[in-house]
């Protein structure tokens, strides 16, 4: 378990992380969300022992990151932001270096490196120097060094930043396959990633925790949760829709003859809307119930419009 208690980091007088507290259990994939400069990376740097907190504490599987730094760090695989690597080394010698620092020697070292290389598919570039690799490959080298010692805690700072859609998919698949019985924390500002890989999302802004829940719970905080969006061939009667029980309002969409009917919190309005359509005999081309829009929740949370 990772335990974070009132973790705080001040630079000069500026408070970057403001008494953050939460816990992460094995098996959880925690998505750490927030706008740029929210304090995500700083929090991760404190969790991995790179930065000392100004106040508060963090422990990794029972090891305090300040008092028992080395023991805690042995449990962690960390991909720092931007996946820095020693550019003048070849992929193989870099990974062998990391394996040696992690305490592996001889045949076990080679086996560990080979397994990590296979997991992120680096076989083709093994002998190339890292600085000649594309961004996607560099990121994968960073991932390989993080998972090499099969850590029980994986902390990945923007693991898919700057990758193309195929590479993103691959990295997410990898994270999912690793996640079993591990603690995974990934920071991101890509919201689709949260629904794709995370079992839990924590939203922070200005160093403060704003929301903590499953992606579904977060989505349900959206105004669009349970909203019904219709696309019709003819103009729709907005007044009739708005008058239905449980309806909070009607919004016009950019598309012609397209409306979103918003539900009041906790209400299900699909049956009523459906009945009204049948009653008026509208020709509806598309009809769907929204789960909620994460980006909208994110925006309103981080701007302080919704608590």
């Amino acid at each position: 378990m990772i335990e974070i208690n009132n973790l705080t980091k001040r630079f000069a007088q500026h408070c970057v992380v403001d008494s953050l507290s939460f816990r992460v259990q094995p098996g959880e994939v925690l998505g750490f969300l927030g706008p740029n400069g929210a304090g995500k990376s700083t929090t991760m740097k404190m969790l991995t022992g790179f930065l000392a907190p100004s106040a508060g504490s963090a422990s990794i599987l029972g090891f305090d990151i300040q008092k028992d730094r080395l023991k805690a760090q042995r449990q962690i695989g960390y991909l720092p932001e931007g996946a820095p690597c020693y550019g003048d080394m070849s992929v193989r010698s870099f990974l062998e270096f990391i394996a040696a620092v992690r305490g592996f020697r001889g045949a076990e070292k080679r086996e560990r490196v080979a397994r990590a290389v296979a997991q992120v598919e680096l076989e083709k570039v093994l002998e190339q120097s890292i600085e000649t690799l594309s961004k996607g490959f560099k990121r994968r080298v960073g991932l390989a060094q993080a998972i090499l010692h099969d850590p029980r805690v994986l902390i990945l700072d923007e693991p898919t930043d700057g990758l193309d859609p195929n590479q993103k998919h691959q990295v997410r698949k990898l994270i999912k396959s690793l996640a079993h019985d591990k603690i995974v924390i990934i920071s991101t500002h890509i919201l689709e990633e949260v629904t794709a890989v995370c079992t839990r999302a924590v939203v922070i802004a200005h160093g403060k925790l704003l929301a903590d829940g499953t992606p579904l719970e977060l989505e349900s905080r959206s105004r669009y949760h349970q909203a019904v969006t219709l696309v019709a061939e003819e103009p729709l009667d907005q007044v009739a829709l708005a008058a239905l029980p449980g309806v909070a309002g009607v919004e016009e969409n950019a598309l012609e003859h397209s409306l979103s009917v918003l539900a009041k919190p906790g209400q299900v309005i699909f049956p009523q809307v459906n009945a009204l359509i049948a009653q008026h005999g509208w020709k509806v081309k598309e009809l769907n119930v929204e789960r909620g829009r994460l980006d909208e929740v994110f925006r309103s949370l981080t701007r302080g419009e919704l608590v």
């Binding site: 790179f50 760090q73 720092p80 020693y86 080394m89």
Partner: protein, 244 residues
């Protein structure tokens, strides 16, 4: 302590991954030859010893050794790999010392390549080979002291050029601290013990003694303490500046 050799190996190999190592060795060998034979008057002196060779080392190292040390930490900070290194389960001591020892071993290697000089002087006459050995030891210790200063300056500056200039300046201060022009600046107002303390910091007097074949335990301790102190300072600076 188990990881120190791993850090050492990687760092030493990284010197040879770029042309830097070869350029350095060539320049070092050419310059030490020029200094010995032209400026030092090796032949004209008519003496079978390597004094003309060692005498110039404090000045030769002043510019060459900071060039080896400047990348030690500045590069790590610039490329962000310091975050990788410092989140691996290694102690500060292992990181700082491992990197320093690699640079020191590299300087030692360059120094060993001047062995033809020893062969030459043995061919021409009958030198005191014991003094030559202590001369090498003194020269290597001197390089170590410069490197330790350079390591600290490299931790201080993110830019390698600035790290280089800082290191040259501080090393220069340590060379000239025994010179009358510096001591005069102190003798007017400072108590005698301070003047003596400043004078005793000088590399030159210590190095001269060792390179003439006189090994005084205090001189050895001086260099080793200086190295240890600057490395400790490096560790402190890294902790303070790593996040910038």
């Amino acid at each position: 302590m188990r990881q120190l050799p791993v850090i050492f190996q990687r760092e030493l190999a990284s010197y040879f991954a770029t042309p830097l190592a070869y350029v350095f060795i060539v320049i070092f060998l050419v310059l030490s030859g020029v200094f010995t034979f032209y400026l030092g008057g090796f032949f004209e002196s008519g003496q079978a010893n390597l004094a003309p060779f060692f005498n110039f080392h404090p000045w030769l190292y002043l510019f060459l050794v900071p060039a080896i040390a400047m990348r030690l930490w500045a590069e790590e900070r610039k490329s962000g790999t310091i975050e990788l290194l410092m989140t691996l389960p290694i102690t500060r001591f292992e990181a700082v010392t491992g990197k320093f020892l690699a640079a020191w071993a590299f300087a030692g290697l360059a120094l060993l390549l001047t062995v033809p000089m020893v062969v030459t002087v043995n061919y021409l006459g009958e030198p005191d080979n014991g003094a030559i050995v202590t001369g090498y030891l003194g020269s290597w210790l001197l390089a170590g002291a410069y490197l330790a200063i350079g390591s600290c300056m490299s931790a201080l500056a993110k830019n390698q050029v600035i790290a280089f200039i800082l290191a040259v300046s501080v090393c220069f201060l340590f060379i000239v601290s025994g010179f009358p022009m510096v001591l005069d600046g102190f003798s007017g107002w400072a108590p005698q013990w301070l003047v003596d303390a400043v004078a005793s910091l000088s590399f030159l007097t210590r190095f001269d003694a060792i390179s003439k074949g006189v090994i005084d335990l205090r001189d050895l301790l001086y260099f080793l303490t200086l190295i240890a102190a600057w490395l400790a300072a490096t560790a402190v600076v890294i902790d303070l500046k790593k996040a910038d």
